[in-house]
């Protein structure tokens, strides 16, 4: 490793706390992410409740919002499958199968990119072309912000998984358990991103 010694408990769990440091750190980070998306959900509630009943700033109806449950539902399934492939990647590495692990990681990346493409091409672009950008009213504002921030998180995940996919084998051959732990932590982040979408989908797409 670089400057400094490799500290304990990065691979084997701590005897008393029962967890290795990376996993504890990842869960702490996820707790902060809960608060981040929580703040946006709280903003959604406050804006929804305080929206005027008529005029340009009124909350749109389901039809006016124009969000397709089919596209949203499809993307939901895409993300759920990507969660499965992510955890299968970890499981394969845990049993020592680097090739299968890398295959599942590649699948996860592919599904994530599919999600982004569907979102951009079939959701964002049509809305923006129709002039229904985030400035149109607060529903679109919070819709673009919530899904946009979520999409940024997906892209971030793609970058990290991509890095482990392309350059990770060096670490695997040096210390396979350490590499597997890092994939586990990445997986935790990825499942969280899926979790956020599980709440976003009904709240944004299915409201009446």
């Amino acid at each position: 490793m670089s400057a400094g010694a490799l500290l304990s408990y990065t691979v084997k769990p701590h005897p008393v706390t029962g967890v290795y440091s990376g996993k504890l750190g990842t869960w702490l980070f996820l707790a902060s992410e809960v608060m981040l998306f929580g703040a946006l959900f709280s903003a959604y509630v406050l804006l929804r409740v305080g929206a005027p009943h008529e005029g340009a700033a009124a909350w749109p109806t389901h039809e006016q919002a124009g969000l397709s449950w089919k596209i949203g539902g499809f993307n939901t399934l895409v993300l759920i499958i990507s969660s499965v492939t992510m955890v299968m990647a970890w499981a394969s590495l845990k049993t020592g199968d680097l090739a299968k692990g890398r295959m599942f990681l590649a699948l996860t990346v592919a599904l994530a990119l599919l999600f982004i493409v569907v979102k951009l091409v079939f959701e964002y672009m049509p809305k923006l072309n129709a002039g229904h950008g985030p400035w149109h009213n607060n529903f679109f504002g919070i819709y673009f912000t919530l899904t946009g921030l979520h999409a940024l998180h997906i892209i971030g995940g793609v970058i990290v998984i991509g890095y482990f996919l392309l350059f990770g084998h060096k670490l695997w051959y040096k210390n396979p358990e350490y590499y597997t732990n890092r994939i586990e932590c990445t997986g935790l982040y990825w499942h969280f991103v899926d979790l956020v979408w599980i709440f976003l989908f009904p709240v944004l797409y299915l409201m009446n």
């Binding site: 490793m1 670089s2 400057a3 400094g4 010694a5 490799l6 500290l7 304990s8 408990y9 990065t10 691979v11 084997k12 701590h14 706390t17 440091s21 504890l24 750190g25 702490l28 980070f29 707790a31 902060s32 992410e33 608060m35 981040l36 998306f37 929580g38 703040a39 946006l40 709280s42 903003a43 406050l46 804006l47 305080g50 929206a51 005027p52 005029g55 340009a56 700033a57 009124a58 909350w59 950008g133 985030p134 400035w135 149109h136 009213n137 607060n138 504002g141 919070i142 912000t145 921030l149 210390n175 358990e177 350490y178």
Partner: protein, 587 residues
């Protein structure tokens, strides 16, 4: 300050080999992953910003004391903000907003958490470094970038952010470019904080030395632990809010913009339907826990110094620890006491007033425990102890003056007046900043291997103590007289003119306080080369950082420490010395 000798006592974990090769200049001093180097980087950077933020205030105090008069000497340096040397109101507001932002986010928190926390905490728990050394380095550099971005605000058209450090909408949404720069800077600073807090929590949980149970931790470590949780969970809503405000400003959304907003006779072009109060909720959700972030590490430092300089264990260690944890928890559910004047109803106001009253209890417990700790102590009036002793009544004044602000009825009179400024400055200035001074004098020998000069330290203390009270005590009376905050010229109002003498007093106090820092600055730099060299443990202290060499080498400890006792075993029975360090087995 860093020697090449490696401590071999550190745990090797699962990878038994690590490189001992020499690191180049850049990896050793600039992009180091050693918590001590990073701690010094944070400390030096943030001390500079503390000084800069104070200079902004000294500039503002001229306008307050002598409204409309050209500022001698300095006036001509800022032709845009002070044409003919007379400060423009917009410039005054920018100085005010940036003073607050810089002191809180670029000065105090990076210093007490990134500086002191990073340097001292791993040593106090007997660890060779933080749990994630590379992440630690990234935290510092993200802070640094955020600081540069913040400073860039001064150079954009329209000047720096000028809507208060609180950036209330809709004013902040229609403000000049500097506000956008402020928001971007905040995103970097918040990210830095989040990464750092993860590191602190994992380090404290996972890397404690053998025998160091949670209830044998020094109070300073507990304080950092609770603080890290506050930063971790309270900052994200402000990051979300900053994104929302950026969108309002740059994309034209209406998250915080109501319908039909008219500015200077012009109807603003927003869809509307948004809520200025939404900004306040999200902002204060962070900013209230933030003020406990400002005080907790300071309380921890004071506790260390009091135990050390009374030569007896702290009274009420467990009470202090439980109080800190309870305080941290409660801090998340009091925030709307900053919003009593927004038209909230009586039920919800009562809820927040109740939680606010409850949160004063752990503060009082901690302060009382620290005061009782002095009783029958063999007090040594070292320079750190001077600041620690002064901290106690100053923090008491700050805390007590918060009570009428936490009750809606009295807050009606006092909200947004100078009383509030007096209240929070007493807690942060003769409170936290005195704790910071105490900490610098106390740990300087550990970091540099030399002590600071005592005579200069006494001078710094006496002058600072006198003048800091001259600055802030009058503010309570100004506030009670009805003088509002953030006023460019209070003499415009009769009630403001009536107490203008108090304003002048604060201003002269501030300039004298500025001069009083010269002995400290001189001492700080001089002692680095010319200070008296000392051993590992010049204060005869018990906690683990004093078991390492001064300064500690890479890896910190020569042999891996094992802990046998509580953190403050001073004046133990049946032992010749008047202290037993934590890592020493019974004689």
């Amino acid at each position: 300050m860093s020697s090449h000798q490696h401590g071999h006592g550190h745990q090797h974990g699962d990878d038994g080999h690590h490189d001992h090769h020499e690191l180049g200049f850049w990896r050793k001093y600039v992009f180091s992953v050693d918590h001590k180097v990073i701690g010094v980087q944070y400390a030096v950077t943030s001390l500079c910003f503390l000084f800069f933020g104070f200079c902004l205030m000294m500039l503002m105090r001229w306008q307050l004391a002598y409204p409309g008069r050209p500022i001698p000497v300095i006036g001509p340096l800022f032709p845009k903000g002070m044409p003919d040397g007379i400060m423009l109101p917009e410039f005054y507001n920018a100085l005010g907003a940036m003073h607050g932002t810089i002191m809180v986010f670029l000065g105090v928190v990076p210093l007490i958490v990134g500086g002191f926390g990073n340097y001292v905490m791993p040593l106090q728990i007997g660890a060779p470094d933080m749990a994630f050394p590379k992440l630690n380095m990234v935290s510092y550099w993200v802070y640094f970038v955020g600081a540069i971005v913040m400073m860039a605000g001064f150079f954009v058209p329209g000047g720096a952010a000028n809507s208060g450090w609180t950036s209330y909408a809709p004013l902040s949404v229609i403000a000049t470019t500097g506000q956008t720069v402020w928001l971007l800077g905040m995103v970097f600073l918040i990210t830095s904080s989040l990464l750092g807090s993860v590191n602190f929590i994992v380090t404290i949980i996972q890397l404690r030395a053998k025998g160091l149970t949670m209830f044998r931790l020094p109070v300073f470590v507990w304080a950092q632990f609770v603080t890290a949780f506050l930063l971790l969970l309270a900052f994200p809503p402000l990051e979300a809010a900053a994104v929302l405000q950026l969108m309002d400003r740059l994309v034209g959304t209406s998250f915080f913009m109501p319908e039909g907003l008219v500015v200077s006779g012009q109807l603003q072009n927003y869809a509307g339907g948004g809520s200025p109060l939404l900004w306040q909720h999200l902002f204060w959700f962070l900013a209230h826990p933030e003020v406990y972030v400002l005080i907790l590490p300071g309380l921890g430092m004071i506790a260390e110094i009091i135990a050390n300089n009374t030569r007896k264990p702290l009274w009420g260690y467990r009470a202090m620890v439980y109080s800190m944890v309870f305080l941290g928890f409660m801090s998340f559910i009091v925030w709307a006491h900053h919003m009593f004047m927004t038209g909230m109803g009586t039920k919800i106001s009562t809820f927040f007033a109740t939680t606010t009253m409850i949160i004063s209890i752990p503060s009082v417990i901690i302060l009382t425990a620290l005061v009782i700790s002095l009783y029958q102590g063999a007090i040594r009036f070292t320079v750190p102890m001077l600041f620690a002793l002064a901290f106690l009544p100053m923090f008491a004044i700050g805390g007590l003056t918060g009570l009428p602000l936490g009750l809606p009825v009295s807050d009606i009179q006092l909200h947004d007046t100078y009383y509030v400024i007096g209240h929070f400055h007493y807690v942060v200035a003769p409170g936290t900043i005195f704790a910071i001074f105490a900490g610098v004098y106390f740990w300087y020998p550990k970091v540099t291997g030399r002590t600071m000069n005592t005579a200069l330290g006494w001078m710094h203390f006496v002058l600072s103590f006198v003048f800091i009270n001259v600055v802030f005590m009058p503010m309570f009376f100004q506030g009670l007289a009805g003088v509002s905050r953030r006023l460019y010229d209070q003499t415009q109002y009769a009630h403001g003119s009536a107490v203008q003498n108090l304003t002048k007093m604060s201003s002269w106090g501030a300039w004298m306080l500025g001069l009083s820092q010269l002995p400290f600055i001189l001492n700080f730099f001089m002692s680095f080369r010319a200070g008296r060299k000392v051993s590992d443990n010049p204060w005869d202290a018990t906690t683990l950082e004093w078991a390492a060499p001064s300064p500690p080498p890479h890896g910190n400890f020569v042999t891996e420490p094992v802990v046998y006792r509580d953190p403050y075993d001073y004046s133990p029975r049946g032992v010749a010395r008047d202290f037993l360090p934590q890592h020493v087995a019974e004689a």
